[in-house]
């Protein structure tokens, strides 16, 4: 197994891990963290795909850099919404999941 394939499999596993966290986590901050894991897993997968031809392809790299910056800005907006929700309700969970605890 080549190194590139190893990173692609890691990326695939990261997507799965993040997807599980996105569904299973109840604290919203953890959900945004999990969402970031999905994103970065896909970046690794795409980057490994770009490196498959033997030399690093700059086109996916440029797309990934764009993606990393967009992921940060989306996270910042999501985190702002969570903080606003917590101020209004005193909890950082979705209302329908906020049982017990």
């Amino acid at each position: 197994m080549s190194g590139v394939t190893l990173y692609a499999l890691t990326g695939a596993a990261l997507v799965g891990t993040g997807f599980f966290g996105l569904i299973a986590a109840r604290h919203l901050l953890r959900r945004v963290l999990a969402f970031n894991l999905i994103g970065s897993g896909l970046f690794v997968y795409l980057g490994a795909a770009g490196a498959r031809g033997g030399e690093a392809d700059p086109v996916p790299q440029a797309l990934i850099i764009t993606g990393i910056v967009v992921a940060l800005s989306a996270s910042a907006l999501a985190v702002g919404l969570i903080v606003a929700l917590a101020r209004a309700r005193g909890r950082a969970m979705l209302p329908e999941e906020d049982v017990g605890g």
């Binding site: 190194g3 990173y7 692609a8 499999l9 890691t10 695939a12 596993a13 799965g16 891990t17 993040g18 997807f19 599980f20 569904i23 299973a24 986590a25 109840r26 604290h27 901050l29 945004v32 963290l33 999990a34 970031n36 894991l37 970065s40 897993g41 997968y45 980057g47 490994a48 770009g50 498959r52 031809g53 030399e55 690093a56 392809d57 700059p58 086109v59 790299q61 440029a62 797309l63 850099i65 764009t66 990393i68 910056v69 967009v70 940060l72 800005s73 996270s75 910042a76 907006l77 985190v79 702002g80 903080v83 606003a84 917590a86 101020r87 005193g90 909890r91 950082a92 017990g100 605890g101």
Partner: protein, 311 residues
Amino acid sequence: MTWALDATLCAMILAVALATVLGRGVFRAIVFFVVYGLLLALAWVRLDAVDVALAEAAIGAGLTGVLFLAAFGRLARSGADAEPPPGRVNIAAALASAALTGALVWAWVALPLPGRPGPELAEALPRAGVENPVTAVLLNFRAWDTLLESVVLLAALVGLWMLARDEAWTEPLGLPQHVRPGGVMASFGRILPPVGVLVGAYVVYVGADRPGGAFQGGTVLAAVGIVAALAGLVRPPRVTRRAWRAALVAGPAVFLAAGLGGAALGAGFLTLPERIAGSAIFAIEIALALSIAVTLAFLVIGPPETGLEDQ
């Protein structure tokens, strides 16, 4: 030997990712996520993508970590930092996640092997105006993506500012910071910014020919501003200040002007003719780095707050 290095690195990345998802406590999850970002930056170096490694280290590990830690502090003030006890094991979610990973693995095996980076790229690169192929793709060949991305950043900031309360709108951005004089944060706030400004400006400047560029350098400059604000050395500006608003739109504005310049010279919108490409990209890069630095810093510092409502 290198295979062992790759395998160890991948195992550590996966372990830290699992700890982020499964570990107890939100604070611990954030700390694991920062470690994850740093390890991922190493993975990008191994994949021969140094430009991405710089962006991942500065944004994925650095700014995202600060963003989440600051949010955690704010949630703690509202009493919303505690996590509910874990429910029963979510078997459906585990199965769905395993299926998703399996589909990606299958796609990797099934997809035909692509050729080397297309010959079109090697042909076009000498006319791009810059040596670094990633910068050439970002600011010349796929300029549309990058222009729209810089607008997405602005849209996220506008969305974040819309969460501010009316009475806080004229306050400075973020929470007022109180730092112990002579403490660690105050000392860091004095030592780091000069070094950070130097590193950030250098990374922006060399981006044309070597790994680096507006995104990576702009992020380092944003981090300098955040450190200075957290240390209480500078007060973040108010939303209403025109000079800062101009800094926010300078990047997209210069980018658009260069695109229109390309159209006026007959090459087409956002197509840079070879004789102006080098200088146009340099101008875009400087303006974009400024806008990215200010936008990212404002995104992390957060909307204007009075800091009074929770006490």
